[in-house]
Symmetry: C2
Subunit: 342 residues, 2 copies
Amino acid sequence: MQNFECLSIRVKHNELQIIDQTKLPHEEHWVTCSHPDIMIDAIKKLKVRGAPLIGVAAALSLAQFVESGASQVDFKEKAAELKKSRPTAVNLMWAVDRLLSVSFDRVIQTAYFILEEDIALCEGMATHGVSLIQDGDSILTHCNTGGLATAGIGTALSVIIKAHQSGKKIHVYVDETRPLLQGGRLTTWELGKRNIPYTLICDSMAAQLMRDGKIQKVFLGSDRIALNGDFANKIGTYSVAVNAYHHKIPFYVVAPRSTIDFSCENGNQIPIEERDPAEVQGVTVGVTHPIRWSPQNASVYNPAFDVTPAQLVTGGWVLDCGFFNFEQIKEGSLRELNQLNS
Amino acid sequence: MQNFECLSIRVKHNELQIIDQTKLPHEEHWVTCSHPDIMIDAIKKLKVRGAPLIGVAAALSLAQFVESGASQVDFKEKAAELKKSRPTAVNLMWAVDRLLSVSFDRVIQTAYFILEEDIALCEGMATHGVSLIQDGDSILTHCNTGGLATAGIGTALSVIIKAHQSGKKIHVYVDETRPLLQGGRLTTWELGKRNIPYTLICDSMAAQLMRDGKIQKVFLGSDRIALNGDFANKIGTYSVAVNAYHHKIPFYVVAPRSTIDFSCENGNQIPIEERDPAEVQGVTVGVTHPIRWSPQNASVYNPAFDVTPAQLVTGGWVLDCGFFNFEQIKEGSLRELNQLNS
């Protein structure tokens, strides 16, 4: 395996490693994933997360498995298991299916191609999105969409980082993103590292900031985009979208083309994963041991994602290959991207 | 001091005690408040919370101070300090001002009158609100508005409890209410004690439940109501209101008359208290020691309340003295209540 190092994933001395995101921001701990089973566990436990990064990590894990001498039968079996480890992440299916579609001797090369491509896709999103941010803008974001969610500099965060790098004075409001606190733990960490001014808030505070005129734009990512522009993203996204719509604040979704599910006509067809009640009963990440603050056995609803209808994406969709507004999406722009691919 | 016991406050063997709400639901620990300074500390640290309960607790604390032989000068000094301990809670001002307005020898009697009155006010709200809930309704609530927020059975929760007691099959969705988790820790505890079926959610999940048709009504409390019907309540209330409005779900505010600030024309005049950044950087209540999951010194915005405009109160205002809809409020119903008082 060829050496490389990103913020979230690396190959070093022939070992594939991921940074354990459940231990951030307190500790930068790298986990060696010497077998796909370890990667599957890491995906399920959110040690590695972020839709694009999961795809890259799964591909590299399979590449390493092949390099270590796995048979084609074993490779296919682990590929199938990896696809099931995070059912909503379409990039994961996309990356694994790509490895399955090439001849067995090209698996490793293709996995590295997926890695390089992800870095390029982030650059593409940043390029197509940067002009949407003006000097002086305050931007709300949700969850983590940066270098911890991709192998490159990020999806929604790539646009924000590019705007900052181009000299625009911006401020970022970061939703903490309960229950897993990707905003409070990870986005704050990334923005701090890059000296981008930010303010951390609880998810429920964004509405009041919008009413007070303190937020000019919303930028966030997506885990799956349907052909009509409806999209799934981290739970809480839909509430942000409704609030942005009410306050007439432009709302932008930033994602690579691989997020589009060409088999999915609209948001109703997107399955929503429900997660462990303990995540809502207390806090299970960013702490040395899980904490419960609710009564024992408190009944809980814990969907990992929600679906936002295209009508609420009042800003538009920033993809690596270009920017699309609601009218263009309605006219079938996403469907056309599939025709270009095939 | 005459003995009595409520869910949240009691006098036992001449000692005024409050249940320490920062230790719930794990431990039912009673704190003896032998001096107003201890009560001021308890209010500031949210050991005692809930706008009506704070008023009762402050009044009883001053009564005890007088009974223990405090001079009128000392009484007035502590009364002034108590009023400053929670600046947004108008009930606190109202209760303390009442004690200041009576002759010194009637302070104790008046404090007990405020206690009895609070219990009666809760009954009044329950009576005027119960018919708004239908058999089969699922109701969203925010923060804690029950017997831990009042000396009686609650404000918004009194309506829900009454509906349940009257045999209606209802279900309650409980916003956890970051950052201080009054929903996750306290409302769940109260509903569990009363065997009322509930589901705990993160604040950001309510919108999706509304979209899925799983919430029929919203009932929540208020810390201060302006004459035009705008009201302040726990941070996150405004986001719930915007979402309920978007989904055409009736939104009800339940509060005693003492919540009305007759000197306040509209919501813009309500001051918003900002609290300790540590509350948003991690969790400071319901845990044995404060936990931080964000980076150290993460910049934070932490308003305790937000203001919701009257236009979003699509259901209406349930007061102890009756139910008012938006049209009635617009025509000056709240102002008229002041004329009745004076």
